[in-house]
Amino acid sequence: MATPPTSKSFALPNDLPLDCGQALNKVEIAYESYGELAPDKSNAILICHALTGDQYIASPHPVTGKPGWWERMVGPGKPIDTNRFHVICANVIGSCMGSTGPMSEGPDGKPYAMQFPVITIRDMVRGLVALLDGLGIDRLHTVVGGSMGGMQALSLAANWPDRAERVLVIASTARHSAQNIAFHEVGRQAIMADPAWQDGDYYASDASPDNGLAVARMAAHITYLSEEGLTAKFGRRLQDRSSKSFGFDADFQVESYLRYQGSGFTQRFDANSYLYITRAMDYFDLAEEFASTPGSGKLADAFAGASSRFCLVSFDTDWLYPTAESRHIVHALNAAGAKVSFVELSAPHGHDSFLLEHAALDRVVQGFLE
């Protein structure tokens, strides 16, 4: 992948303690912000990005040149209106768009690669909270996140309950299921099986594990879509040909699409970051974090001190983080006495629905921010 361009960056004044017991020093958090911060700092919204997302939420991606990943939601006059709100989105630690991660320089002057400590969702949020401290924002108007971003929003609400007035969690979960972990493991094994991976030490070499990373992305991408959506978009249609080739070219449109998604992804993402961030997601189990003894964790305990208003949204065709996971969180919040709203929206596009055009989602988001 290309070297990440320079975003705004905040150097943490202190070492960042991690759940694994180590600490990261000289941590940089790259971020973008949109809209003016009110003098009383009451209008700040933190948006947490998903696995392969980044801080370029409403401005063009510097590597691909594509529009920001949530431009339809964030901007002047959009549901998250930057005429009213100061919107912050930071690249999580472990990622590769300017925040400290495996491709950053380690203590020996060389990239960390696999010497980077294994991080957790809570570690990512610890980094985000340190950024908010640096920006002088004590209390967010709202923390918003979809998918892995939703895990961060939940982690913030549970671990730093005073830092957000509202918590908006879209298409997310409070724990990774066996199926979630299984798909991530396929991706990681694809990367590590690529000879160019070289035990993660590929930064100084000519080769990088693009093939493995592309396969990882292809497998993951399937989980972001629905069968209905795939059938509608591709069916069994052939790609630029009138008959099957009796070979292993991308005969089908769906194969061509996945290959394109896979190779495009390698332009903008680092394979080691993919390993670390998927690991963090697999380790995520918010109830377990609050368990007094292993296995005893009740999710409601995680929200015992919560004073925020919560809103959860799921999509009926999302089989990656299905509605049942959101309901599980809602029940825990109810049991903890927290103020919570929940709605399951109907959308044909599976998990990715949260990124796509959806009028009802817009209304819920806009309404919840009022």
Binding site: R309, V330, H331, N334, V340, S341, A360, Q366, G367
Partner: protein
């Protein structure tokens, strides 16, 4: 804003600052009224996602869900009042619903259309057809009201369940009427219960 008369009767008897669960809260009209005028901590449960959306837009805390299933997820006595307006007759098992109301709430308000109103009786007696009235506007095949109930039936259910009827209010033509012969005269009834 003007509340439906049964909701107004409920709103007039909810204590200030109490915790309320409104089951089948619709567009949240009662919740909004309770929050703004009485400082009530109101939560809602509503089946229809479009209604939930509306509630979220009003700043209310409403969960999309099915009262038949999802009440089980609320802790015992989590609320001072559980409110079930115009929903009892749609429940899979109204008897179990009543138990759940008095489990999650210290008190319960229940409102329902009275199937023994004289107009309903007349439609059945003289027309020989399932009644379609202003209180029960849908035909038998499309109505959600799968368990029609009369005021006397409800009193009997409460007695059988060991629930105490604290108060009752009766309505006809959008106006409150007296208790005498309510099972004939009332189109709607509201009861406050405890156990």
């Amino acid at each position: 804003m003007t509340l439906r008369p049964d909701l107004a009767a409920i709103a007039a008897h909810v204590a200030k600052g109490s915790r309320v669960l409104d089951i089948g809260c619709g567009d949240g009209a009662l919740m909004a009224e309770l929050e703004s005028t009485l400082g009530v901590d109101a939560r809602g449960l509503e089946l229809n996602p479009a209604q939930v959306e509306r509630c979220v837009g009003r700043g209310l805390s409403v969960v999309q869900g099915d009262a038949d299933r999802d009440l089980a997820n609320y802790p015992d006595k989590a609320f001072d009042y559980a409110i079930l307006s115009q929903t009892l007759q749609t429940a899979e098992r109204p008897d179990r619903m009543l138990d759940e109301l008095l489990r999650v709430g210290t008190k319960a308000f229940v409102s329902f259309p009275n199937f023994a109103h004289w107009r309903t009786r007349a439609a059945l007696m003289f027309g020989g057809r399932m009644p379609v009235t202003s209180a029960l506007p849908l035909s038998w095949y499309e109505t959600q009201n799968i368990h029609h109930v009369t005021i006397d039936d409800f009193r009997e259910l409460a007695r059988a369940k060991g629930a105490r009827i604290e108060r009752g209010w009766f309505f006809a033509n959008e106006k409150q009427i007296g208790a005498p012969a309510a099972n004939w005269r009332a189109e709607f009834a509201v009861f406050e219960l405890s156990r």
